[in-house]
């Protein structure tokens, strides 16, 4: 406007940049594209293998003991196993995670306890699942928890869908907590106050205003958690028994399956991989393709709801 202001300088062209900047930019581009390429290669490779070896019948057939790959059946049992494990884990992890997140974000008194809870969740997120599995074996072999698995000759085996599912819920929990807490933090304080100003209690505000508001964040966090739960192998191998099919325990139909041992897609892939006990790579690729598909769908859900959560803005 005024004559005193400097004339705007022209935006520097790429050639005018310093060498270091240009190298940095090139490196960023290279790494970005490299990761895209790795991801694409993985998905394309699995898709091709999946298309080659995957038959619809495999989804409805149980694994069989066979000498060659065509005789070894499908993977109905591992697919069901994965779904059951994920269901148990998330049924526990979602309510517990929401509870922890609400307490951390809305109450968090006394402070020391809040800090402890916070670092516990962080530590849980960083614990290798093998360690969780090992700890789970100790816990679920205790006599008090015998009802969750089978016993043989007075010894609690500790391996069942219950044991694996409950341990997997610890794996999923941090994702639910983190995402829900982020959602709660994003709600401005005056929204809570608006509810208090209507004569509502804190509980009513949490129940009817805050929780509905963070629903997209809860769904996004739960989906990320489910992806990790489905993808875990260590806990399955050690706590689910890794049998070649679902083996019930006891009389009641549903309960017996949940108390019994079984396998999931991950342990199925692990066993059928060229280094595994069974060495049926075609089955491994087919199951891996299904798993990748599941994870892609979950990621899509995460994306949709994360965007929804971000769109919900108070000015």
């Amino acid at each position: 406007m005024s004559t005193t202001s400097a004339t705007p300088t022209r935006r520097p062209t790429a050639s005018a940049w310093r060498l270091r900047d240009r190298l940095g930019l090139a490196l960023a581009w290279f790494l970005g594209l490299l990761f895209c390429a790795i991801c694409a290669a993985l998905i394309i490779y699995l898709a091709i293998q999946g298309i080659n070896y995957l038959h619809p019948a495999m989804l409805f057939e149980n694994p069989k003991i066979g000498y060659n790959q065509s005789e070894s059946g499908g993977f109905l049992a591992p697919l069901l196993g994965s779904l059951i494990c994920a269901a148990i884990a998330m049924l526990v992890a979602i309510p517990a995670g929401i509870g922890v997140a609400v307490w951390l974000s809305e109450y968090a008194r006394p402070r020391a306890l809040a800090r402890l809870a916070e670092s516990t969740v962080e530590m849980l997120a960083g614990t290798p699942t093998v360690v969780l599995a090992l700890f789970g074996l100790v816990v679920f072999r205790s006599r008090a928890l015998a009802f969750l698995s089978q016993s043989a000759g007075g010894v609690v085996l500790g391996k069942s869908f219950f044991s694996a599912g409950l341990m997997l819920s610890l794996l999923g929990l941090p994702f639910v907590v983190t995402s829900t807490r982020e959602g709660l933090t994003a709600i401005p304080n005056h929204v809570r106050e608006a509810s208090y100003a209507l004569g509502k209690t804190k509980i009513a505000t949490i129940r009817r205003v805050l929780l509905p508001a963070v629903r997209p964040s809860v769904i996004a966090g739960s989906s990320i958690g489910t992806g990790h739960v489905i993808g875990d192998t260590a806990i399955i191998v050690m706590l689910l028994g890794n049998t070649y099919t679902l083996q019930g325990a006891g009389g009641l139909p549903l309960l017996s399956s949940l108390r019994g041992t079984g396998l999931t897609l991950t342990s199925y892939v692990y066993d059928n991989a060229p280094t595994g006990a069974l060495n049926h790579p075609q089955q491994a690729y087919a199951a891996a393709a299904i798993m990748i598909l599941l994870v892609l769908v979950l990621n899509l859900v995460v994306d949709v709801f994360a965007r929804k959560a971000r769109r919900q803005r108070w000015n």
């Binding site: 005056h190 509810s195 208090y196 209507l198």
Partner: protein, 323 residues
């Protein structure tokens, strides 16, 4: 800048509008019987004598111009010698003010002068801040607000905030939330429909949204959102409405609508408004309180405070109002 007498245009507009329509339709709905114990109290007697300010009762032009067309104001709340602290910092210094139904009290003053803190203490929202504490008393119909449950107090003394903050649910549910008991889902939607529409109507929003009350409230424009927040506050049938700079995030047209709304609501509610906009304080306020550094400097009718302020500080502050 010289001190101009405020332009009388809008004031006359009020007066003429209200005298032409006789009697004002709202006048009949004033729940005089709702507060039988207070009706007999002469309202002016309750006005505290702010140090240095001549008694309002003694000033000839004490009554606002438009008051002649209104029913007498009823004393609802008294702020008596209230001081508020955050930690050890004294934010509000022994302020006394009456809040009357039928009148709008406007709190003005520079940023950080404690007017919002004072407003929030009226329905005890200050208690949400851990370090805040209060001395002095605030009464509602003669009862110390500290004796009331905060939830009951806030149902009777509701508040609308600076930022429009509808809850992330439908328009209907926003208003229905205020009507329901705590976290209950009942009464059901069909039963609440009439009350919800009535509240939206009183907030002058119904005509714009009645086609689809199930629309998410956050899709409304800023001005509509703020009127929804007012509707939400009105739904609980409060007796006092606190407005914390309700127009500062809105465009001029929306602000005008809110001001018109305040003008109609003053008959049935006691209204306290905090505003940075001096023109607005003059337009909507019957009485104006000027605060500076936590102290109540001057309290007078809008007419007098803007045209003939007694204190030098007030004169300085309001001189820019109508430049």
């Amino acid at each position: 800048m010289e001190l101009n007498p405020p332009p009388p245009a809008r004031r006359l507009d009020h007066a003429s509008r209200l005298t032409l329509v006789e009697p004002p339709p709202e006048a009949t709905t004033i729940p005089l019987t709702a507060v039988p114990s207070v009706v007999g109290v002469p309202s002016v007697a309750g006005v505290p004598n702010v140090a240095g300010v001549p008694s309002i009762a003694g000033v000839p032009d004490a009554a606002p111009v438009r008051a002649a067309t209104r029913l007498p104001a009823i004393d609802r709340m008294q702020i008596e010698d209230v001081s508020l602290y955050y930690g050890t910092a004294e934010i509000v210094k022994s302020v006394s003010l009456p809040i009357r139904q039928g009148e709008v009290l406007a709190l003005i003053g520079p940023s950080g002068c404690g007017k919002t803190t004072l407003l929030r203490s009226i329905n005890r929202l200050t208690e949400l801040t851990k370090t805040a504490h209060m001395t002095g008393t605030i009464t509602l119909d003669g009862i110390d607000t500290q004796q009331l449950e905060p939830t009951e107090l806030r149902r009777r003394v509701s508040m609308v905030f600076q930022q429009p903050n509808p809850f992330p649910m439908s328009i209907f549910d926003n208003v229905a939330y205020a009507l329901r008991e705590q976290a209950r889902r009942r009464p059901r939607r069909a039963i609440l429909r009439e009350q919800v529409e009535d509240a939206l109507d009183r907030a002058a929003l119904l005509d714009e949204v009645k086609d689809d009350l199930s629309r998410p409230a956050l899709r409304l424009s800023g001005g509509q959102q703020q009127r929804l927040c007012i509707a939400r506050a009105l739904a609980a049938k409060p007796e006092v409405l606190l407005l914390d700079e309700p127009c500062s995030a809105l465009d001029p047209v929306s602000s005008q609508m809110i001001e018109d709304l305040i003008d109609t609501l003053r008959q049935e509610l006691a209204i306290v408004i905090v505003t940075h906009n001096l023109g607005q304080a003059y337009r909507v306020g019957d009485y104006v309180a000027f605060m500076y550094l936590g102290e109540l400097v001057e309290y007078a009718t809008a007419q007098r405070l803007f045209s003939a302020p007694v204190k030098a500080r007030t004169r300085e502050y309001v001189s820019g109002a109508f430049g």
